[in-house]
């Protein structure tokens, strides 16, 4: 059963939500769009393709301070900062919502990351489906789709002067209770079919016969700018830094990336690894390793295309998948099924 | 004439500031060694020697200096400038002084020299080129030396060296505009500081 909400009613609804919730929505700045807590409905950018950065940072901030105290016995306790209000994340695209499904796999595993759990549980996702696929988009290739409602609480699909509404979860139901949507006889557009799943590279670890490819075609070109990791909705690596001062403890947690040269030093296992190995690691981890390790059934790439657009030297994950495919064929492995 | 020189405060030394501005030379560099005078081909005629002219500018003795013959007699051979140990373009200073005298419409101590320059430019203004017969004629008519250099004329004419008619540049409008705009611009940039004190 579907329902329909006009654009005006949507704004009114969002206005009411603003009273009791923190409303996180796309807003324009410096020619780009970013998710940030908005104060007025007018600040929301309804007409956007996708944000420059994924909404990941709402749940897993770029840096966060976990503060605590040193108890008498010298033990340290850390307490996450509780959210003041419940939150609504409006405008998340299906690909980014899939990104949250990825980070969930990491942060929700018992015992769970208290800070993430707090934010995740208290935030309702109101997604907006994409009507068009941009040149850099490839969600359909990664098992998602521009109008997949799978990973959100509510999905809105633009239709004329309003939106078709799909309420997917209980949380969504609760939130949309006062939304003022009408019953609609319009059918929800069918989910855009996914293409055959991306073939994953050869082997997840160890020396590989394709090293020349990584060294010369990819590693040579990569400048370690780290942008791919910072714009990625799924990258979840972080670094921590502790400060103790007069009986108080502060733990700073900040995003980090496997492409930073310092990462090798800290994480150890990749210390002094040649650049090609490090590059290969990034893609191996995203594609075969993540589903392998966490049994997710989907890769740690959602096809949002941000890294494709942002990479200053055009390291294009789709091209890499194709190249590896060709390489497999050339070494005699079976061809991938045609689309 | 014997009198005491009143030394002006540096800030009031309009003469020096004008000369420094228009010639681009730093007058205080001059340490009065006299090499300029020593090498000057016409210095033996100057009432203040080139070195003394430089000194007069340093001291700002404008009225006294403006009255002299000295700077009118500079032939711009650049010997002084080339040999000055302090790298002052002394010839350019002389140029500046002439320029100042003309801007302030002073009666030149060497009226023949000034006259020559005036006629020369008048001809260039009129024809775009110099016409020697015209120059000589004008000069003799106005200088009070009607027979100056006339002894040379027969031989010169005989050898076809002095055409009676001037050569001209065709685009005379352009030439006149150059004269006009140069004068306008120069008056503007010279500013009030060169105005002759009443």
């Amino acid at each position: 059963m579907t329902s329909f909400i006009t654009k005006t009613s949507l704004k009114t609804w969002l206005g009411t939500l603003l009273k009791d919730n923190t409303l996180v929505a796309p807003a324009a700045a410096a020619g780009l769009t970013f998710f940030r807590p908005v104060e007025k409905i007018e600040d929301i950018a309804f007409d956007f393709t996708n944000t420059a950065l994924s909404p990941k940072s709402w749940f897993f901030p770029q840096t966060e301070t976990l503060s605590g105290e040193i108890a008498g016995n010298g033990h340290k306790t850390l307490n996450p900062e509780a959210l003041e209000k419940n939150a609504v994340l409006f405008g998340i695209r299906p690909c980014d919502a899939r990104g949250l499904a990825v980070t969930d796999k990491v942060f929700l595993i018992t015992p769970g990351d208290t800070s993430y759990i707090e934010r995740r549980q208290r935030t309702t996702l109101v997604g907006v489906a994409c009507l068009e696929e941009r040149a850099e988009c490839f969600c359909t290739r990664m098992g998602s789709s521009p109008n997949s409602p799978a990973d959100v609480d509510i999905l809105l699909t633009e239709d004329g002067d309003g939106y078709l509404v799909q309420v997917m979860t209980k949380k969504g139901q609760t939130l949309s209770a006062g939304a003022g949507q009408q019953q609609s006889d319009k059918a929800v557009p069918p989910i855009v079919p996914t293409k055959p799943p991306a073939r994953l590279p050869l082997k997840s670890a160890g020396p590989s016969p394709d090293m020349d490819y990584w060294d010369q075609s990819i590693a040579d070109r990569c400048i370690h700018c780290n942008i791919c990791a910072f714009v990625c909705p799924t990258c979840y690596c972080f670094d921590t830094f502790d400060i103790e001062k007069e009986g108080k403890v502060e733990r700073l947690r900040s995003w980090y990336t496997c492409q930073s040269p310092n990462f090798e030093r800290i994480e150890g296992y990749m210390a002094d690894a040649p650049k090609g190995v490090r590059m290969r690691h990034r893609f191996y981890h995203k594609l075969p390793l993540f589903p392998e390790q966490l049994g997710s059934g989907y890769a740690a790439c959602t096809g949002c295309g941000r890294c494709v657009v942002s990479c200053p030297v055009n390291i294009d994950i789709r091209e890499i998948m194709d190249d590896v495919e060709k390489f497999r064929a050339s070494v005699g492995e079976e061809k991938a099924p045609q689309a | 004439m014997i009198n005491t020189v009143t030394i002006l405060p540096a800030a009031k030394n309009d003469l020096r500031s004008f000369v420094e501005k228009t010639s681009g030379q730093k007058l205080l560099r001059c340490y009065q060694c006299g090499k300029c005078t020593a090498g000057c081909p016409t210095a033996y005629l100057w009432d203040l020697t080139p070195r003394q002219v430089m000194r007069a500018v340093q001291l700002g003795l404008k009225e006294e200096l403006m009255r002299t013959h000295s700077y009118w007699l500079c032939v711009f051979c650049q010997t002084c400038s080339a040999r000055c140990p302090q790298e002052i373009d002394i010839a350019a200073v002389m140029d500046s002084l002439r320029h100042l005298a003309i801007l302030e419409k002073r009666a030149p101590a060497e009226k023949e020299v000034a006259l020559f320059h005036r006629h020369f430019l008048r001809l260039v203004h009129r024809f775009g080129k110099v016409w020697e017969v015209g120059l000589g004629g004008l000069y003799n008519l106005t200088s009070g030396h009607p027979l100056a250099n006339t002894s040379l004329l027969p031989a010169m004419f005989a050898r076809g060296k002095l055409p009676l008619l001037p050569h001209t540049t065709h685009n005379m409008e352009e030439i006149r505009n150059i004269f006009k705009r140069a004068e306008e611009l120069e008056r503007k940039s010279a500013g009030p500081e060169t105005g002759r004190k009443a």
Binding site: - | L73, T79, H99, H117, R118, A148, L152, A155
Partner: protein, 286 residues
């Protein structure tokens, strides 16, 4: 390969120094240097404009340079005074502010990219190839450069300020003997002939006197002003300095022409006020 220049003769080369103009044109042609007279040129302003108005002193030559720039050819100058003014202008206009001012005066855009060269450089060192057919052997000549041709050195970029060699090398290449003397670049009185003829006589006399003392039979020049002062004032010198001996004064292009096979008449040696023919005859060159 023929070298091509925009030729700037200057006012006097068309009048009192015609022999310089004509010898230059003939010699250059024979030496494979193409001179095209600069269209509708004007006086460079020497020696008056800069004395009276610095801006005018820059603008007049700038107009000529602009014409050459538009033509895309370097400028060849014969007259030393004109050369001085043109070089000076192109040096001074290296200053962007001045260039802007001058462009305002000109009313068109001059970019100051044109190269100015004196004929001495063009004939003497820029790989020109003139054929000496008649060596002027036994002729002792003093090369006289005059003052402004070389000064200031960093602007003229021609030769040493006190002991230049460019003309001496040309004269020597013709088979003549050059004397070493101390007056190569002393001033002859330059622009004073009309207003102060007695000064010119005094200075020019000193020059000729030393040339004679150092063993020269003639003086070679590259400037119409120098030539006129040294040549036409010799009668006056005789009157003022008893014992003064006359001495012919040639343009270097005239001697070049003779050595290259032109006749004395073609080189207009008869146009000088001080007899230049007898010496050449006595040496058997004509």
């Amino acid at each position: 390969m023929a070298v091509s220049y925009a030729y700037y003769p200057g006012c006097t080369l068309k009048t009192s120094a015609r022999e310089f103009d004509e010898s230059t044109l003939k010699v250059c042609k024979a030496a494979g240097i193409e001179l095209t007279e600069l269209a509708d040129w004007n006086c460079c302003g020497a020696s008056s404009a800069h004395s009276v108005s610095p801006l005018l002193g820059l603008s007049l030559p700038a107009r000529d340079l602009q014409t050459a720039e538009a033509l895309g050819k370097p400028v060849a100058v014969a007259c030393a005074m004109c050369f001085h003014r043109l070089k000076h202008a192109s040096h001074a206009l290296g200053d962007a502010a001045k260039l802007k001012q001058v462009n305002q005066v000109l009313g068109k855009e001059f970019r100051n990219t044109v190269k100015v060269e004196h004929l001495l450089t063009i004939l003497g060192s820029n790989g020109s190839s003139y054929q000496v057919t008649k060596k002027l052997e036994g002729l002792k000549a003093a090369s006289y450069y005059g003052c402004v041709l070389v000064r200031p050195k960093e602007v003229m970029e021609l030769d040493d300020e006190d002991n230049p060699q460019l003309m001496d090398r040309i004269v020597a290449s013709l088979g003549a003997e050059t004397v070493e003397w101390d007056f190569k670049t002393e001033c002859c009185g330059a622009s004073l002939p009309l207003s102060k003829p007695e000064v010119v006589v005094n200075l020019s006399h000193k020059i000729l006197r030393q040339a004679r003392q150092r063993g020269a039979e003639c003086v070679v020049v590259a400037c119409p002003m120098c030539h006129s002062n040294l040549d036409i004032r010799q009668k006056a010198m005789k009157a003022a300095y008893p014992g003064f001996q006359e001495m012919p004064v040639y343009y270097f292009t005239q001697l070049m022409g003779l050595a290259m096979g032109f006749s004395a008449a073609e080189m207009h040696i008869d146009k000088h006020l001080t007899d230049g023919l007898s010496l050449l005859k006595s040496k058997g060159f004509i």
